[in-house]
Each structure stands twice: as C-alpha cells, then as structure tokens.
C-alpha cells in the first residue's frame, strides 16, 4: 500500500525525542516528515500532557485518543520507557547510543537528575547533537521555572502587543510561542547538523524559548533602546497604515445577530493606489476626504452588507490586500491551502482517518511526506528495543515484566 516516496532528506538519521507538549515535538516533526527516524520516548507513568488534552475522538479521554497530540507527532515512532524505573536511564542511554540527535524540553533539573546531560550522553555517543529547549534556557536565575506557550508569549513581550488599544494584554488565544520558537530551534539544529556533516563534530544547543521569541517582536526592542519608547498594542491596526483593520461582514446565512453572524474581513491599504482601488470598489471615491475614524466607520458600514468571500475576491482583483478572517473550518475548505496540499489525511489505529498539518514550504525535489499517523504509546517498543538496541527476547521480557517500559 505504500507508494514510492520521493528521496527522503533525512534518511538514515535517527532522533531520540524526549521532548513534550508543543515546542520539542514540533521540532522533531520537521525531521520526521522529511524522512528521519524519530523515536518519541514517553511514559504512561507521567504521560505526555498533550495525550491527556482534548480534542478526543468521540469525546472519550484516552492516551491514544487526543487529536492535539496526534497533529504534532506525525511520521514518528514511540517507545515507552519509565525514566524513574531503576533501569530507565540505562535503557535510555542504550537508545541514545544509536541516535544522531537528542531533543528535550524539560526544565534543566530533569536531565541533570537522570545523569543525561549533553556531557553524560556524549559518553555513549561522542558526535551527538543535543538540543535542550526549556522556557528560559539551561542557566540563569529563572532556568528552573516552568511554563507553557500561552505564558511565554506574555514573558517575551508578545502579549503586551496583543490587545485592544488601552486594554489588558490578553495575548493571542493560543499557546502562541509553541508555534513560533520551534522554527528557530529547528534552524539552530539543522545548522548544527550541517556542521556535523562537514566536520564530524556534534554539539550542545541551549535553546531558551524566551530568547528566541523576543526576535519576533519586530521593532519593539530597538524602539525602546534607541527612542526610549514602549510600543503599544493597536488591536488589528498598524502604526503607519490606514485603513488597516478587520471589519464585520454580512452573516453567511440567517439574520444579523443570528448564530452565523460572525464573518469578518481584513482590509489593508499601504499606498495611495490601494486606497483609490478600495474606494472604487466601495463606490465612494469621495470618502478619501474623511478623517481616519470616519473612513473606518464608513467602510465598516459598507462591509456589513457584503459577503466576506465575495468582497475579498473583488478587493484582491482590484489590487487591495484583503482577506477573510478565516476560522479553522474555513482553513479546511480553503482552495489555496488545498492546492498546496497543506492537510494530510492519515489513518490512526484508534482515532481513524484524521487531518494533520504538513509543513508550510514545498521543496521542489524532496518534499515532505507524512508517512504515518501519530504513534500509540509504546507502539514501537519491540522495534526500538530489539531491532535498534539489540535486546534478546529474554531481556526484552525481563524489562517488560519489571515495569521499565511503563
């Protein structure tokens, strides 16, 4: 049933993935979706939190039933291992011995406590590349602090810039940095991999999530260090461009105030030609003389009578950067994303056929291929412990019985 895959970029590369939740699994997903053999190492004693997080198929909570976990873990293997078990650390090192890369995202005390720092693991794998991705880095007074992506967006200054003007800093409605910093971490890891390819030398990467996220705050830092100015959140708006806003459109169906009355369009203008085009589509060239607020109000009044999709088409054809504020449902129906094959549909043993996100870039010769759905917890134990590590059947059974694989 497997069709011929294109040349796989990371064929032959093996990754021991101890990371959890968002950031680490999204880094190793890049590798797995391009052909690396990524082994997630997880335990049922202290399960990966996303396995416990909704959405669950049929609303049935279960470690092998979370769509949240599944989406981040396509194309990967999973070995179960209890690192608290007396044999746990030794077994982990036997896996690492056969791996090129180790990824982890615990607070630093975890790997130190297990004796699994970069220095420790180099003893079993001298050319190892290891990336540690704690919130605040491996050193410093906050290094032992925990957190999640919706907290880190606040710590990095992004929430300060994500609010209605003058109101509390609500931030995005997602664990935002979980979907931002993995790209930086992957870039650092891939560059280290290139260095190893050329020199044979591995290395350790101390990736403090906050330090990467600060690089996504545009001019926030320099405006402060140079001009002494603390930038402020502008809602949907922009400091320099106007109109540049989200405007409510007509309900897709039913009445104003009904269930389907939440359609919005982003309309932005960055130069005079675009303003002319916008006012032409609106049929009101004279709005040009209005104040910014009055123009915004007129546009809002006008869009409220328009269907969002049709208006987007009209504005784009006229050369105005505009787009529907798309919902998750809209994304699944988006013709451009469909053209690019963004969503992959993969069969999972307990969850059935589900949509997975692929990467946002297309490589012309060696594109990504999501080769399988997320792994069941411990699905690949026999493969990992027998075929890779080289355990005999007797030894495997011994560890199974002792609870090392829980």
């Amino acid at each position: 049933m497997t069709t011929e895959l294109p040349d796989r970029v990371f064929e032959g590369l093996r990754v021991a993935d101890f990371a959890w939740v968002g950031v680490g699994p999204l880094v190793s997903k890049y590798l797995a979706d391009h052909g690396a053999e990524v082994i997630r190492i997880e335990s049922s004693v202290r399960p990966e939190p996303l396995r416990r997080a909704p959405p669950f198929v049929d609303d049935e909570p279960g470690l092998d039933n979370s769509g949240y976990y599944a989406d981040f873990n396509s194309s990967k293997h999973c070995a179960s291992l209890n690192l608290q078990h007396p044999d746990g650390v030794a077994l982990a090192k036997r896996i690492v011995e056969h791996c090129d890369i180790v990824t982890e995202s615990f607070t630093p005390k975890a790997m130190r406590g297990w004796g699994m720092t970069y220095e420790d693991l180099c003893e079993v794998r001298p050319d190892l590349i290891m990336i540690s991705m704690p919130m605040y880095g491996l050193t410093g007074p906050w290094s032992m602090w925990q957190g999640y992506g919706h907290v880190l967006q606040a710590a990095a200054g992004i929430s300060h810039l994500t609010a209605y003007p003058g109101e509390e800093p609500i931030g995005t409605g997602v664990a935002y940095t979980d979907f931002l910093v993995p790209h930086f971490a992957a870039a650092a890891l891939l560059a280290a991999l290139d260095h190893r390819q050329r020199t044979g030398e591995g290395q350790n990467i101390d990736f403090g999530q906050m330090e990467a996220a600060i690089h996504a705050t545009e001019t926030m830092v320099l405006d402060y260090t140079v001009n002494g100015r603390e930038q402020i959140a502008r809602g949907a708006g922009h400091e320099a461009y106007h109109p540049y806003n989200t405007y409510q459109c007509a309900p897709r169906s039913g009445e104003v105030g009904g269930d389907d009355d939440d359609r919005w369009i982003a309309i932005t203008v960055t130069n005079d030609a675009e303003l002319t085009a916008l006012l032409q589509v609106a049929g009101h060239p004279r709005w040009r003389s209005l104040s910014e607020d009055a123009l915004d109000a007129k546009i809002a009044e006008w869009t409220r009578t328009q269907q969002a999709e049709a208006l987007m088409q009209q504005l784009q054809e006229a050369g105005v950067p505009a787009g529907v504020v798309q919902t998750p449902e809209d994304l699944r129906n988006d013709p451009q994303l469909a053209h690019r094959g963004h969503f992959w549909f993969l069969d999972h043993p307990t969850m059935g056929r589900r949509a997975y996100d692929g990467p946002s870039f297309r490589l012309s010769d060696t594109p990504a291929a999501l080769t399988k759905a997320a792994p069941l917890l411990g699905a690949d134990n026999e493969y990992v412990y027998k075929d890779i590590v080289g355990m005999s059947e007797a030894e495997y059974i011994e560890h199974l019985v002792s609870g090392a694989f829980e």
Binding site: D7, V9, H34, P54, P55, G67, Y68, P141, M144, G147, V151, Q153, A156, G157, L161, T162, Y164, P169, T172, G173, V174, F179, H183, A187, A192, D194, Q197, G202, Q203, D206, E211, H215, A216, T219, V221, L222, A236, E239, N245, T246, Q248, D262, W264, A266, T268, T270, Q316, P321, A322, G323, T327, P328, D330, L331, R332, Q336, R340, R354, S360, L363
Partner: protein, 420 residues
C-alpha cells in the same frame, strides 16, 4: 561576544537576500548562523528602509529601526535588476552564492531574472527560496497580503480577540515572523539534501500557510469535534472548551497563569494551599471543592459555568494583592508555570536575561545600540550578532571588487550607468 570568536555553523556559505518585510528575518537568521548575507538593494535604497519607527522619528533611509532590526549581520550592495546590465551582474553574483532568498511576486519574477526554472537551469547547486504571501502557484498566488491579511487568511486572527468584538492581531507582525522563520527551516532542509547530493532545489514558502500552523489545537478540534475554537478574550479554547482567564492584574502590572481552568487544572491542591496560606482560599478547601477539582486533573478539560466564575473571582481578588514578582516566584515554587507579562522596559531590565548575557551592544558610527542577542547558544559554532545593518551600498567595493574581481574603473562605470 564578537565575530572574532568561533565562527557560526553556516560560516562557509553565502546568501543573496532580495527580500522585503515578508522575508527579511529569514536572511538575518542565516546571517546570525554565520553565513555571509548580501542584501541586494535597488540604487537609492531598499523600500524597507522607509518602514518606521525611525531613530528620533526622523524619516531617513539610514535611520529606520525596522531596517536596523532585520539587517544586522548583512552586507549591502546596490543593483538595478530592471536593467539588462543589472541582471547580468546578478547572474555573476549568483555564481558565488549558495542560497538565494527573494520575495518577488510570482508574476513579476521572470521579468527581473528571478524565474525559478531559469535559475535552476543556470545554477543547479543553488538553494533558491521564494517567500510569497500565498505561495508560487494556486488560485491565490497572484494576491497581495500585508501582515494582517496573512494572520487573517492563515487563521490566527480568528483566535485573537474577544467574543462579540473584532478579531485582532499581534501588533508586532507575526505573519512576517512566521513566514521568515519557517522559510529558514525549509531552506536548511534543502541545504542538508544538497550536502548529500550536491544538487540544490527550490523552496516555495507561503505566509498564509506559515500562519496556518499557529492554530494550536483548532484544526484537530474542527476535524474531530466539528467545533471552531473562537476568540477567547482573556483565555484560551482547547478542544472547543473555554479555559479560565489567564492574564490577571497584579499590584504592579499583569501576570499570565496556567489556562487549564485558570490556576486550578494542573495542580489544584497545591494551588489551594497556596491561597489558603495567604488566607484567601475562601471555601475552596472544602471536601466538595477538592473533589470537583481532582476530577479535572486526569484530563485537561477545564471546569465551566458558575464553578469557573467562582474560581476566577477568587483568583482576581488574590492576584491584586501581590506584586508580579511575588506571585510568579510563589507559583513556581509549587510547580505552577506562571509568568510575568513583560513590557519592553521589563525585558531590558530583566535579571535573568542579564545573567544570560542576552543583550548585545553593536557599534554604530555615533555610539552603541542594544539589540536582542543570539536566539540559541550553540556550544561549538555560536550564533552571533556581529555588526549593525549596512548603509546603502556600503559593501559595493567588497562585493563587486573582491568577490567578482571588477576593477575600480569598472565599478565607477556601473555606478555612472545607474546599474549599481
């Protein structure tokens, strides 16, 4: 740390950077990783030099803080790609390059010598990355997008803002940040393949699609439950379930708390002890409440309805009594991952970042300027922020003279002809 120390991992490689604000961070990240990045500007200067804010609010192509932020570690040459002479020179630059990054609209690329097929034919070893709003082909390929249009069409804005109010965006452009950072990943994956085969390839990077994967769990939630996560206001939606509030006002600013049922989802008992220690647990220490909260711990579905409101009121009252530093330090002691909502000033004064020597001073002609430092610490081949953004054409002599071997006379002729 300066460039005189160990070189970055990409030190052997050269990048030509023809990006606008959509992709400027991508070139800078490759430069941070040690590559030699040559920004190619039209004579007179790149249009992104006119994006504000400006130092002292003086609108000047050399004073744009946007330019400064995204062009550190880059060199600058001027080149008019609309002329035949310019395109010929560009071809010679490409001969020396390992990477090409550009943000040219797909329908305009061929006219200035940036057609994917022709570049691939003439430079088969090159990794050529096109960063566009929607991708190189497809029904929206010829459409335009600003950052807000990218965050809207990619789905992030539908998850930002409050119910019944307009969708918003992070004011610091995340569509641009996402597309640039993800383009670097695609570029380096293509590069890794090249180390094995010697062949380059084309990387087609879309901003809309880069934003699409910021949905958190919204896509599987639609796929599995047929529910759209929406704009949660001050909180999140996880699997279609609304979390508790997660930003709380402290005595001196704001803190961000765990969102699974506010404070209570993950470590309810410890959290209640914490409140009780300060005499502010109300009746949450009762068996009835503890049983309710214990029930939410196995699965991460937050409590809802009047219970959630009660918990929230308790926390709102609690947080106002203490400073941000005290709240977060105490929360972390019970392994509750709270954080401070930092303003720019807070970050620059932050002790942790100072101890990690994060901030980087760079020399400008008239003094030092503080920049964010390396975004990862690589033990053998460090990332470094080495020098300020270049002036217009600052490196014409180096690039055209040393790299391409043109004589001073030839360079002067190109200048006089308006080619560079």
């Amino acid at each position: 740390m300066t460039g005189s120390e160990a070189a970055g991992p990409l030190a052997p490689f050269r990048v030509l950077d023809l990006t606008n604000e959509l992709g400027q961070l991508a070139g800078r990240m490759l430069g941070d990783l040690g590559a030699e990045v040559i920004k190619v500007e039209p004579p007179g200067g790149d249009q992104t030099r006119f994006i504000g804010p400006f130092r002292g609010d003086v609108v000047d192509p050399e004073e744009s803080l946007h330019w400064w932020t995204f062009n550190t570690n880059k060199l600058s040459v001027t080149l008019d790609l609309t002329t035949a002479g310019g395109q010929e020179l560009f071809g010679r630059l490409l001969d020396t390059a390992d990477f090409l990054l550009e943000t040219t609209p797909p329908d305009a690329a061929a006219a200035i010598g940036l057609g994917v097929e022709s570049i691939s034919a003439s430079h088969p070893k090159l990794v050529h990355t096109s960063i566009t709003p929607f991708g190189r082909d497809g029904p929206y390929a010829h459409w335009k997008a600003t950052d807000l249009v990218g965050t809207a069409m990619g789905g992030l804005s539908s998850l930002c803002g409050a119910p019944g109010r307009q969708p918003i965006r992070p004011t610091a452009s995340q569509g641009y940040a996402q597309v640039s950072a993800q383009a670097v990943v695609g570029t380096l994956i293509a590069h890794y393949q090249r180390t094995k085969t010697g062949r380059g390839q084309h990387v087609d990077q879309s901003m809309q699609e880069a934003v699409t994967f910021t949905h958190d769990n919204a896509s599987p939630t639609w796929d599995i439950r047929g529910v759209n996560n929406g704009r949660p206001g001050n909180g999140r939606e996880i699997g279609g379930y609304k979390s508790g509030q997660y930003v709380y006002e402290a005595a001196d600013g704001y803190v961000a708390a765990l969102s699974y049922g506010g404070l209570f989802g993950l470590t309810a008992r410890q959290s209640i002890e914490w409140l009780d220690h300060h005499g502010m647990a109300r009746d949450l220490t009762s068996d009835e409440w503890l049983a309710k909260l214990d029930a939410t711990q196995g699965i991460l579905i937050p409590p809802a309805g009047p219970d959630a409101d009660y918990l929230n009121e308790t926390l709102v009252a609690f947080c106002k009594q203490f400073t941000r530093a005290q709240l977060v330090a105490e929360a972390q002691q019970i392994r509750n991952g709270w954080g401070i909502v930092h303003t720019p000033k807070d970050l620059l004064e932050n002790e942790h970042l100072a101890e990690r020597e994060y901030w980087q001073e760079l020399e400008h002609e008239d003094g030092q300027v503080t920049y964010p430092g390396p975004w990862a610490k690589l033990s053998k081949t460090p990332i470094s922020i080495r020098h300020r953004a270049p002036h217009v054409g600052e490196h014409n002599d180096y690039v055209y003279g040393e790299l391409l071997g043109l004589s001073g006379e030839a360079i002067t002729q190109l200048e006089n002809a308006g080619t560079i």
